[in-house]
Symmetry: none
Subunit: 276 residues, 2 copies
């Protein structure tokens, strides 16, 4: 036995789990360290894999992976997996109870609120690596790199994301136009065949964004969408739709997933353009 050495209070958040993992990694014996290393780099797999699968991928015996979970302070693999699954299920049955716990804190403690948003950010990033495929990223990057002009549209909550991309495109010398709400109507005809429109909209979807995207599609432009829901109207006519599910804290969603994806995509577009 070795667990008598640990304080053995199980991590209750992804942030805690990551911290614990980093903390104990060096002290673990060979095989268990292998587990730690692999897990750290494939966090997103925990939610959807069995112990055997994880063990095999990490090249250890299932029982070794089991011991790793216990060294982390969990009672077993299922226990650990449950934590990483909440990113998807946080609005399921126990959602109400969780939310009820969060709401009181919203009123008072800004520090606590920041911890909640940080935790929420971890979860958004975890699901990001699951919901967006390598192919769709590469496809989008290639299309945008080949475009005559990349048009960016994102209103309200999505505006910050559009602004973020516009900044990187500026730095990387990717020709782009950031469409703001004024003059949306007038500018639609400008978007034409060899262009790409990158449209960002989160539920409830902005009517103006959808309208502009539809007109662009009719003009023959390629439309790539970034949204947070399968029910996004863009899905019906856009050429590609990237789906980012953001976690929420008491009804508010930070933009971690979207900011990360848009930054990676912008840099990728710049990279493709510069390797031509």
């Amino acid at each position: 036995m070795s667990q008598f050495a640990e304080p053995t209070t199980a991590p209750e958040t992804v942030a805690e789990a990551l911290a614990r993992m980093d903390a104990i990694a060096e002290t673990l014996p060979k095989r268990l360290k292998q587990c730690a290393t692999f897990t750290r780099h494939h966090l997103h797999l925990i939610a959807v894999s069995t112990v055997s699968e994880m063990a095999q991928a990490a090249d250890v015996a299932p029982s070794a992976f089991m011991r790793f979970c216990q060294a982390m302070g969990f009672s077993g693999y299922s226990d650990m997996q449950a934590l990483f699954r909440t990113q998807f299920t946080s609005f399921r049955p126990d959602y109400d109870t969780r939310l009820a716990q969060l709401r009181p804190s919203v009123g008072a403690d800004a520090g606590r609120l920041m911890m909640d948003f940080a935790e929420s950010g971890h979860k958004s990033l975890l699901s990001l690596t699951g919901s967006v495929t390598s192919e769709s990223m590469n496809g989008a990057a290639k299309a945008m790199a080949e475009a005559r002009i990349v048009h960016l549209i994102g209103l309200r909550r999505a505006y910050a994301v559009a602004v973020n991309m516009a900044y990187y495109f500026g730095k990387l010398e990717v020709p782009c136009v950031l469409h703001a709400s004024v003059g949306l109507q007038d500018l639609a005809p400008v978007i034409c065949k060899d262009d790409v429109l990158f449209a960002i909209t989160f539920a409830p979807f902005s009517e103006e964004t959808i309208k502009l995207a539809r007109r662009a599609a009719n003009n023959g432009a390629r439309v790539i969408g970034l949204t947070d829901s399968e029910t996004c109207p863009l899905s019906s006519f856009a050429d590609d739709v990237l789906l980012v599910r953001e976690n929420e804290v008491g009804g508010f969603r930070a933009l971690n997933g979207a900011i990360t994806l848009s930054t990676a995509l912008s840099v990728a577009v710049g990279a493709v353009k510069n390797t031509d």
Copy 2:
């Protein structure tokens, strides 16, 4: 039995599955249609949930959900789940080699790049909880909630963060002005004693932002800074400085830490204002 009616060739992609689902939805009996509707609306749950959980959430018996899977052309729930799980696992090729060399050459693989930025985001969020204290958050939230007007300034890379806060302040009815680069000079006198200026600037620091902040301080306004380095000029005259260290990927920094902090802070300000 009813499956003799179907062509019963199982969908092999998510797209095919969705098409099939839409195609058969209308022809299904009550309970099975319930399954289809729920599943269509909560696609992301399939990968991480058991039949019982899905059935319960859709308010049908597990066996009914089972029949739904078969009507879809799958042999059972596991079969269907496997399809939705591949989108998580299909995405990792040779990622390990990458992190061995902690210095990623910004290559053309957008998928890998996203993994790098996601990992970088985790690290930014971890250090966030270390470098920003609860007290400084609470102090900033209180000051901003009591201000006559909150002025926001952030240029270039920091602009997305300022835009993000402006959005939340708008929603939460916190009086605020977002200062853009045009008219910076003219607007400085507007910032006066009972106001707070929230200035966001990352290294290399934007001259205009510093200048505006300094003039605001001279006018007697309270200045709160958000930056990523101890060497920020704001430190010498701002009332508070929040420090967020962002991780980088090949020289590029995503805004995870700053977006998370600014969102939490905005919500906190709104909360303090509304509990008065």
